[in-house]
Symmetry: C2
DNA sequence: ATTAAAATTGTAATGATTACAAATATGGAG
DNA sequence: CTCCATATTTGTAATCATTACAATTTTAAT
């Protein structure tokens, strides 16, 4: 276990989320695996170590973590929702060949002109294309 | 019918899409209704005038139009895919209260630093929040 | 008019997500 | 520690968007 469980517990507490075993496992997994995993990937990874784990718990937990603002929901993949514990401002690239989602550094997201009275809570910059691996490089 | 059917036919032909009755109806609907409709909204709207119309045809047509680059698929709404015949560079705002998707003008999408060998085909800027109507203004 | 290819249709299957009720765990009061 | 109320987890069933697929219809060329 790379991620310090005390650190995970602290993050959840600060977000107002009671740090149960399952919630810590999900949050910890997201922090250790910056691959923008799906619910199923998270479930498959955690299931062996928590045999009673249910998919519903993953869904519940992720919904809660997103609501509390410590996890970001990505809709870049039209097949299923992906999740990211990195809530810093960055963009995502999805390869249309292998489906892998990469992080992209962005100096700043483009200027956005909103009409008066609009309140912004989230900004997402998604880029689609073919990654270097699938293009045959390296 | 506001949109000139000859114009729709021309667009489809130029995109290499044979302009059947159904395809013209879908493309025309998207051009006239800049509301980023879902498959169901398109189906419900066109069904009365084309009684034999099938949902599958809408799905097939949209997939084709997206592949040929005359329609854009939006994944801003986690519940279902939305479609847009405006393929110019612009961003989208979704209201988390009413679910309506608005167009946003953007001077330019943020600078994106990609690693070498990555090929970009699409760029999407999504903003989420609460629209002025749902905030109680106007 | 014939016929092969393309397009459309309807139904059934798939798969992610949600609803919901039962079971379990937690944490405080006595 | 024990009891109880509440929160959390779990498993199953339901929902709903999307896809698969085979049959039917249309199209366009010969």
């Amino acid at each position: 276990m790379i991620t310090n469980m005390e650190r995970v517990k602290k993050i959840l507490n600060q977000a107002g989320v009671k740090p149960s075993l399952q919630r810590m496992a999900v949050m910890s997994y997201l922090m250790e695996h910056k691959t923008h995993p799906t619910v199923d990937e998270i479930f498959s990874a955690l299931s062996p170590s928590i045999p009673t784990l249910s998919r519903t718990t993953i869904y519940n937990t992720l919904k809660l973590l997103v609501k509390q603002g410590v996890v970001m929901m990505l809709t870049i993949d039209e097949n299923c929702t992906r999740y990211d514990a990195d809530i810093s401002e960055h963009a995502h690239f999805i390869c249309s060949v292998c489906g892998k989602v990469y992080d992209i550094e962005i100096p700043h997201i483009g200027d956005i002109r909103l009409n008066a009275g609009f309140e912004v809570t989230e900004r997402h910059l998604y880029v689609k294309g073919v990654c270097s691996k699938c293009k045959g490089f390296n």
